[in-house]
Symmetry: C2
Subunit: 459 residues, 2 copies
């Protein structure tokens, strides 16, 4: 152990001599970097380093490789499955100082950013140029974190997820070597798709230091509305019919009555306490009108109320902020609560049944558990609002969560639409991917033979 | 060598006792399986086997692994970079008898098919259900082959490529083990994206035996038109403006005057001998009208002629068949010719310059060389119509091809938008992916340690 300790001291010393104040072992800083936003307890890293360039990341990684020390990439700390917990100790690489927008190519509808760029920062920067980046997981997260977890969110039903919208990456491999994947062409058939191998790899294959993203023009017209239903079933039936009819809605989000209650209180809204769809339409003025009318007819035939339109930009912003804060609104239902949040995704034909069976489970649940989701993709969440001091609640939430996952997998769906595996879903990945897990592990071993990149996650 | 020969005889004998007539060493059959549609000379495999199930594929692969013998997956033999050539001999696995449509889930807009299903077969099957599969590389190819090369084609500008439209796969690994990747959910954050690792891997990581695809509803209205321009530049400028304005055209294809001449002759059309855009619009009746008017204005402001509409379904079919047969139309320009066809893809802002510089090169070219492409993606082809008996022509075509690739890569583009690497572009992959090639090779070695899956391709 002494030997280990002196090796480790040598690494810390090397990092501090190279990075000065940007390499710290201060306990509060380490603890702050030891967890995301989920219920998982803190696993603090041994040090936190703040690089400012790809070269600096490569130097940190090479030093850690030399000392066989775990490396945990860190963005904004908003992950929900324990992805940033330093379960084996090691060096946290906080990328928040790499927050430059490197290039925007307006004519090509793409941009290149550093991983610490925040989603809202990017869109604020793009707005004047008439462009936006649609992927929108709600949390105020970094683009690098969104790459790591293959993030998605409210606009995915129309614009896709990080899988579809990352064109290329710069990645520091576990050896310290730098590779560029993909490029700026819209498509390529040149070799293995390393870009999509890294997207969703949760920091286990390398550290992403530059990201080239697809962008979209801000549409000529935008319209947003809410519509309440008497039952969750009729709301979900509306979603299914909209998707099956091919109407290209930009957003179609469900909140059950528990979620609506939570956001009413948190965001000071006055939505009727009913299962509610949040909708947004993008297109030309006439296209938006046509889409809204078609969806309105479907909603009405399923017993939906009149659309309540958010006409002004500020009303629309308020509406979507409320939706985005639903997780925090849920947490605010109980003092000092933590969230255990599930994230299943199923084929759309199975959505009504999966949600109905989940709601039946939740009726008997002893804690608040709002249900909401990106239902246009078949993706929905339940946030169990647990008291971390009550192990029985965690146990109950995990049991209901397991039932949701098993149901989704049996329907041909997945244990996670967008939150990833991290610490929380390792057993669910195993049941879902089967023999594929051995292939993933073989790839991991080939790229990270020392096993130093974010160890203990995913497998 | 005797030892090798007897090992090999034992393999053939095992295959024939297991598969009877479905394992053949007949020379004409082997030669027929020794090349795709490109200029590359035949490299015949030692035997051809026709499996009918995943289990049979797994048995063949396990036998070949036991005998350390190369395996070459084969679909319809339409690849353009030598992907099916048996450069190290071995066993060709012809998947044409695995041509069942396993399931169509109309409500989920997805289907599962065997790899030998043909693109047109699938769409004929889907039509009555109001659905279609948009990826459309022109050739009458198999879905399995399209997975292998990450195929794309005329509709990709709106619907994406195989990368975006494969939801899940069943794959026989080089060990003979069977894995399922992905699933039927629209999105997933569960582990490494093995689906997209296999898509585009050109049979070097395993044999795909089932494919789950996204489908789309046939749109309420469809309209197709051609429009001629005085110069290639003005046609390309039109495309760039259309893409940048965010109009969601379904197809926007360029043919230069040489291509138009070739298809006029081959398909008995009477298109004016001018650089021409082939367009298609999908949507609601009013949406199609709106799109067509917007594109018409852009074309007109770039000096385009009036749109010539293909109003009837049969006219539209004829138009697109002519476009799809452009490769064969080019070959028909010279008796006994072969095609060396390039396939670069660039950011749209670089498209006009790359095409102009290419056309300047082609002016001095001694052989016919039609230029055409899926220009909405920034993807374009030149088909050098070479006399295979004249090495000087191959040399000249390769020199001009190299210039096109270098130009595309310098612009942030790629050496291949959709044809893949195969034998023809190994050096171009190396220059494009750089250190990424070592990562690809490490993945290859991890999944195929014996190096038996389609050896000699890609690297």
């Amino acid at each position: 152990m002494n030997h280990e300790t002196s090796r480790f001291a040598a690494l810390i010393s090397a990092l501090q001599s190279r990075f000065g104040d940007r390499a710290s072992t201060a306990r509060p800083l380490r603890e702050q970097h030891g967890k995301g936003e989920s219920w998982h307890p803190i696993d603090a890293p041994d040090a936190v380093v703040f690089p400012q360039s790809t070269e600096e990341v490569a130097q940190i990684v090479a030093l850690c490789a030399e000392h066989r020390t775990p490396i945990i990439p860190f963005g904004a700390g908003t992950s929900l499955e324990g992805q940033v917990n330093a379960v084996a100790g090691g060096i946290c690489v906080d990328l928040s100082q790499m927050n430059k927008i490197v290039a925007v190519h307006v004519d090509d509808l793409d941009c290149t950013v550093q991983p610490g760029v925040m989603r809202k920062q990017l869109n604020a920067y793009l707005r004047d140029q008439g462009l936006f980046f649609p992927i929108d997981p709600g949390a105020e997260c970094t683009i690098g974190g969104m790459v790591a977890t293959r993030a998605s969110g409210t606009n995915a039903v129309r614009y896709g997820t990080m899988r579809e919208n990352v064109l290329g990456l710069t990645v520091v491999l576990p050896s310290g070597e730098v590779v560029k994947t993909g490029g700026r062409a819209r498509k390529s058939a040149a070799g293995y798709d390393l870009t999509r191998l890294i997207v969703g790899s949760e920091g286990t294959l390398g550290i992403v230091t530059e990201i080239t993203l697809r962008l979209f023009g801000i549409s000529e017209a935008t319209a947003a509305a809410t519509v309440g239903f008497e039952t969750v079933e009729s709301a979900v039936d509306t979603v299914i019919a909209v998707i099956q009819s091919g109407i290209s809605v930009a957003r179609i989000e469900l909140m059950d009555e528990v979620s609506v209650d939570a956001v009413n209180k948190f965001a000071k809204l006055n939505l009727p306490l009913k299962p509610t769809l949040f909708l947004e339409f993008h297109g030309s003025a006439s296209g938006v009108k046509e889409q809204a009318e078609a969806v309105g007819e479907i909603a009405s035939s399923n017993g939906g109320a009149e659309f309540v339109w958010a006409d002004k930009t500020e009303d629309r912003t308020k509406l979507w902020e409320a939706r985005h804060n639903a997780y925090y609104a849920g947490l605010a239902l109980r003092p000092n609560a933590k969230g255990l949040v599930t994230d299943v995704c199923v084929p759309i034909s199975a959505l009504a049944r999966c949600i109905a069976e989940t709601k039946a489970d939740l009726k008997a649940c002893s804690m608040p558990a709002p249900l909401l989701g990106h239902v246009g993709d078949g993706n929905f969440h339940v946030c169990f609002i647990i008291d971390p001091g009550e192990p029985a609640e965690l146990h109950e939430a995990e049991r209901l969560h397991d039932r949701m996952v098993a149901r989704a997998q049996a329907a041909g769906g997945t244990c996670t639409g967008e939150h990833g595996i991290g610490l929380g879903k390792k057993s669910h990945l195993a049941s879902e991917a089967g023999a594929g897990v051995a292939v993933m592990k073989a790839i991991k071993a080939a790229i990270d033979p020392l096993g130093i990149m974010n160890p203990g996650k995913m497998f």
